[in-house]
Amino acid sequence: MRDAFVRVLTEEMERNDRIALITGDLGFGVLRPLWERFPERMINAGIAEQGMVSMAAGLAATGRTVIVYSIGNFPTLRPLEQIRNDCAYHGADVKIVCVGGGFVYGSLGMSHHATEDMSVMRAIPEITCFTPGDPAETEAVTREMLRRRGTCYLRLGRGNEPKVHVSEVKNWVFPKALTLREGTDIALLSAGGILTQAMDAAQRLEAKGISAKVISFACLKPLDGETVREVLAGFRGLVTVEENTVTGGFGSAVCEIAAEEGSGCRVRRVGLRDCFATVVGDQQYLRQTYEMDGAAIAAAAEALMNEK
């Protein structure tokens, strides 16, 4: 996803000389092509994220689209008030980009687990939040984000994720959710890079004779409520999947609609259950330990199917 983002950004910076990028002293290898190509529009803010985000708001006020690039919680939780007051309140054209959403930096420990950012960023008004599920979705939402004015949040995974979409996501209509797999018995609604696990779960369910639909919400906010309502009307059960706390994030957003709709569709949320990941391990190991890998999602779906 990271590489897809940099590829699209390079193209867009080539076309538009009013795009600048500020990094919080990160992205050594990843951003190198941009440093070489656009040295005058690349700014290293140092390890000073609060100053970085205020600066981004000020720079945007001079008629620029400003990308703020960092990893994990550093571009979100650390300068949260600067995002809220300086960027969102002013409608600043600042795009906060996080590499390493969820457990990407699993073994580095709790400080590097971005597992509340979706909930926190979603709560702030006037921020559009993108949560692409694979490199193809990343390309589509990055283009959309750079077309839109105003403050946005883009939550990426790492580099070299597998593609889930078999081809490019063409003509994506903001903020529509994308169906990856049709199914009739249960729906798996996913937001972010954990999409691979939702797909894996669908395969496991298929082996058990359960037909699961998989939908990726590449835009967390505004959420595609129309698609959620269609699922609520068409299925007896749905499972939300996110590499984020189940408190206030994607699953919560779906539940808000479900509660207001009052449909008979039952919901289960897969995600981190209001705890810190204290076990040491890589991304997949932590997904498994904290019950959000393909097997755990399939188990949650199956349990839901078996409920009366």
Partner: protein, 291 residues
Amino acid sequence: MESYEARIHSGFPEGKPDVSDPRVLAWLIRRSGLEMTHLSRGSHIGSVLSVAEIIAVLYTSVLNVDPKNPKKPDRDRLILSKGHAGSAVYTALAETGFFPVEQLKTHYANGSSLSGHVSHKGVPGVEVSTGALGHGLGIGVGMALGAKMDGADWRTYVVLGDGECDEGAVWESALQAAQYGLDRLTAVVDYNHMQSLTTVEKTLKLEPFEEKWRDFGWRAESIDGHDTESLKAAFARAKENAGSGKPYVILAHTVKGKGVSFMENNILWHYRTPQGDEYEAALKELEALRP
């Protein structure tokens, strides 16, 4: 009933103060600050009284701004980072023609645009909303950097509080401004030596303050922040600083509550609102100071 404007302007020849004189504008900032906090039962009158000359000199003698065209691209940018002194900027803007003076009476009021901490929403001439401390310098760094990238001549001014300099973000931004060589960025610290609970010295010491800024790569000077001529001269030096490759900071030594004897250097008046006898006594003292 007498209008707000008539009440504030009474005592000037034909009720028309010469707002191009920084001493007159500073007096109006104090007078309106007293009136606005009185009417609204609002707070921070001490800060408004300390920052009065700084804001008055900026609007009369320094800033290239146009009340008829508040968004003109080559305007200078002013950020009041100590947003709690918002009524000082509101007064300067109203008195210099950005919006009607009469509107000042809506400060804090239900449905008004004039929030206690300075807001840009619906207020012509205000660049950014502040109130949480430690944000303004960073925004100013971004603006000055943008101007530099565009090769533009306009300048960025940021007014900070001394207590605000407790915030780590101020020093992140100070490092960044120096790193990018933002020599068209000028910071002014309203150094009134008092903050919310007690003095700066008893809270987090800032001295040696000039040296701190110099060590962070800035040019720094200290002046009497109530002397309009000293302020003008300092801003002129800051202007000449363009080309030096260094940002410029003016440490303007001021007195919190300046102009009202019982408010001066009295921590009570960070939050206390002037009512009853206190309001009348403060008004009497200010009237005696009318230029």
